[in-house]
């Protein structure tokens, strides 16, 4: 029944609001059956892209093609896609059954056929006992499942999801994530999923698209993006929470050396780098507390400031002697106020040029959902630690 397609092409899709370019020449090819996530902070244009795909926003430029058919000129009701809204947008005056059956009724499907398919969809999202309730009588997770059932029951060629999990609590979010993945695998519906949560995007998608201020930063599989982020901005989204503006002092043999904050780090160069300002990216979990083995040179000393207990691990906010905050995760017990040696393997340090996007360093760190360390807080033991660093 599902109308399959081979290829959905977004060609230089542009959307402007007044003078502001919200989506700048987005170029994206999606294969049938794929699960693609659009990732970025709020205001990056990801929801705009989705609304353009759905037909709820007209394009300011470019085109959208489904195989050989141009669809960006069609109104939403003639595209035949399914969409899950952030606030679910369930029709409050209709029962769950009528909500789910709405798309089929609009298509003029017969009564018996509607009943059969709605029952099947409700079984799929495990809501059969709730068929005759009104949406207002359901919990958030149940409403979300109704919204998903309503979108997939019409067996659309493309399902669009606009941050469908953002209104749910943490436990339910994990549960629904698995549910969405399961549905995608069992139905094979091509899905475009918008989120600002990198974990959600990484765990769900076959391919990720990272957007920033309407410009596409990188496309690739979760693994590609996780291992080889194209720039510091993408790195910030892929868990490189420490993005340090430093300066490149030495290049060569695949590894380069960057200096700043009174420390020196060796790391892997991403792209060709010239001497000068660079951004050094390190994941909190790549720091190791303790003395490094002989061949590793990335040893620094940090003062522990804030410790969060996370069960197996501690999330530690520490500070370099020169004031820059660092985030690290460790299972080693540390205590507040302590000065500890940490090191990081040089193949886990990424060095990005800042030439093409000079504002990357701090903004992307702020975009990530976890708290960002503030620099320059008054500390009592500053002189003492400075002394230790210089003597070591």
């Amino acid at each position: 029944m599902t109308q399959r397609f081979d290829h959905l092409r977004l060609e230089r899709v542009t959307r402007r609001f007044g003078d502001k370019v919200v989506l700048d020449a987005l170029e994206l090819h999606i294969a049938g059956g794929e699960f693609v996530a659009l990732l970025g902070p709020s205001g990056c244009g990801k929801s705009t892209a989705l609304n353009c795909l759905a037909g709820l926003l007209p394009l300011s430029g470019g085109g959208i093609w489904l195989d050989d058919k141009r669809i960006d000129t069609l109104p939403p009701e003639r595209r035949g896609f399914g969409m899950v809204f952030q606030n679910y947008a369930l029709f409050p005056h209709m029962s769950v059954r009528r909500n789910v059956g709405f798309g089929l009724r609009m298509r003029g499907v017969g009564r018996a056929e509607i009943r059969r398919r709605v029952d099947e969809a409700l079984r799929l999202v495990q809501l059969s006992p709730y068929a005759d309730r009104l949406p207002g009588q359901l919990s958030g997770g149940q409403q979300q499942r109704v919204a998903i059932a309503r979108a997939v029951v019409i067996e659309p060629p493309l399902v669009l999801m606009d941050e469908p999990l953002s209104n749910l609590d943490a436990a339910l979010r994990l549960e629904m994530r698995t549910e969405i993945r399961r549905l995608h695998q069992s139905l094979g519906l091509t899905t475009v999923y918008v989120t600002h949560d990198q974990e959600e995007a990484l765990s769900l998608a076959d391919r990720l698209v990272v957007l920033r201020e309407g410009v596409m930063q990188q496309v690739g599989t979760p693994e590609e993006l996780y291992r080889e982020p194209a720039n510091a901005y993408v790195a910030g989204f892929m868990g490189y929470r420490n993005l340090l503006p430093m300066s490149l002092t030495q290049s060569g043999d695949g590894f380069v050396t960057a200096n700043g904050y009174g420390i020196e780090l060796r790391g892997t160069a991403r792209g060709t780098l010239r001497q000068g300002p660079v951004t050094v990216a390190v994941r909190p979990e790549d720091f190791v507390v303790g003395e490094p083995p002989a061949e590793e040179t990335n040893r620094i000393e940090v003062g522990v400031e804030v410790i969060e207990y996370h069960g197996r691990e501690l999330a530690v906010q520490a500070r370099l002697p020169e004031g820059q905050a660092l985030l690290l995760r460790t299972s080693t017990r540390v205590s507040r106020g302590e000065t500890i040696p940490v090191w990081v393997p040089r193949d886990r340090v990424l060095v990005f040029g800042t030439a093409q996007d000079s504002t990357t360093d701090s903004t992307s760190a702020e975009a990530s959902p976890a708290p960002v360390p503030r620099a320059g807080e008054p500390r009592g033991d500053e002189a003492e630690r400075e002394h230790e660093v210089t003597s070591s």
Binding site: P75, E77, M83, F85, N87, A89, F91, P92, G103, M106
Partner: protein, 312 residues
């Protein structure tokens, strides 16, 4: 003082019994209740007392009628076809006027529900008739719609009519109707607009993506969610139209075709000086309005009236 005999309420906390003020607050009794006071005084002094007084008066026919039957006035009213007919005359004006106002406000409010350029200007223009008052509107209409008014002159100029047959829009049913539309429509429009903007716009988006064209979206989504609001708007408009007085006097028919019930009450009070009869007519008027409103609201109770997802 009683403080010596009764335990101080504030001490109750220690013995496990919550303080009096807490127990009262639990039942909704606290100092904010005083905020109701002006409203309650106003309601009693200006509505409940006069209403009860009028109701009492209506059961006390004037001594001149030589009747001790408390229902004398009511019987007289329904016995006299001229009096009785005022109900139908008023309903025939009030119901269509309210209906037209509500129906006309739907498409305009629907078009203007989102962010639309010039919305403020149009809204202001539509609201002006409310601020003008009925008498000024009526005077304007007399200028505009009379046999030698602009409308008829324009129609004559384009030969749609001639001097001997001007379009009669004054001093008849249509004059009163037009006046009710001019003064009632902005009211209906503003109410409908606010009800419409209370409906979450993403519901229509969802319906559109699911394959509903604009008409189906309106029929299946917007209209059912709007209907309770429309019923309310209709009721309020009907009440305004039913108690029409100035425009019926100024623009109505002199021979009784627009002899509405409020004029009948006025005549009873100030032509015949029969306050008792006037009160009776006023009570009948209130009863008719109540019947219509309760019919509409009974219908409304069948509709979905919960949250429509919007900003309310």
């Amino acid at each position: 003082m009683t403080s010596a005999t009764t335990p101080a309420p504030t001490r109750g906390g220690a013995s496990g019994r919550p303080a009096l003020s807490h127990r009262l607050a639990e039942r909704g009794v606290d100092r904010t209740l005083l905020l109701l006071l002006p409203g309650v005084v106003f309601l009693i002094a200006l509505f409940i007392y006069p209403f009860a007084y009028g109701l009492g008066l209506s059961f006390q026919p004037l001594p001149a009628h030589h009747s001790t039957d408390p229902l004398y006035n009511y019987k007289q009213f329904f016995h006299d076809p001229y009096q009785r007919n005022t109900i139908w005359i008023t309903l025939k004006i009030g119901l269509p006027a309210a209906l037209i106002n509500v129906l006309a406000s739907i498409p305009i409010a629907y078009r203007l529900r989102g962010k639309v350029r010039g919305k403020r200007l149009l809204t202001t223009a539509l609201v002006i008739p409310i601020t003008l008052g009925t008498v000024l509107t009526a005077t304007g209409m007399i200028e505009y719609f009379s046999g030698t008014g602009w409308l008829n002159r324009i129609l004559m100029a384009v030969h749609l009519t001639d001097v001997d047959h001007p379009v009669p829009l004054l001093h008849n049913y249509w004059g009163v109707m037009l006046s009710l539309i001019i003064s009632g429509f902005p009211f209906a429009f503003l109410l409908t607009l606010s009800y419409l903007s209370g409906i979450d716009p993403s519901l229509e988006s969802a319906a559109a993506v699911l394959g509903a064209g604009w008409f189906k979206r309106f029929r299946h989504i917007t209209f059912p969610l709007l209907a309770p609001g429309l019923a309310m708007t209709f009721c309020l408009n009907f009440v305004l139209a039913f108690s029409v007085f100035p425009s019926a006097v100024l623009l109505g028919d002199g021979e009784g075709k627009t002899h509405v019930i409020s004029i009948a009450a006025y005549d009873a009070a100030y032509q015949e000086y029969d306050y008792s009869k006037a009160s009776t007519i006023a009570m009948i008027m209130a009863a008719v309005m109540l019947i219509v409103i309760s019919l509409v609201l009974t219908g409304r109770a069948q509709l979905y009236r919960g949250s429509s997802g919007g900003k309310g």
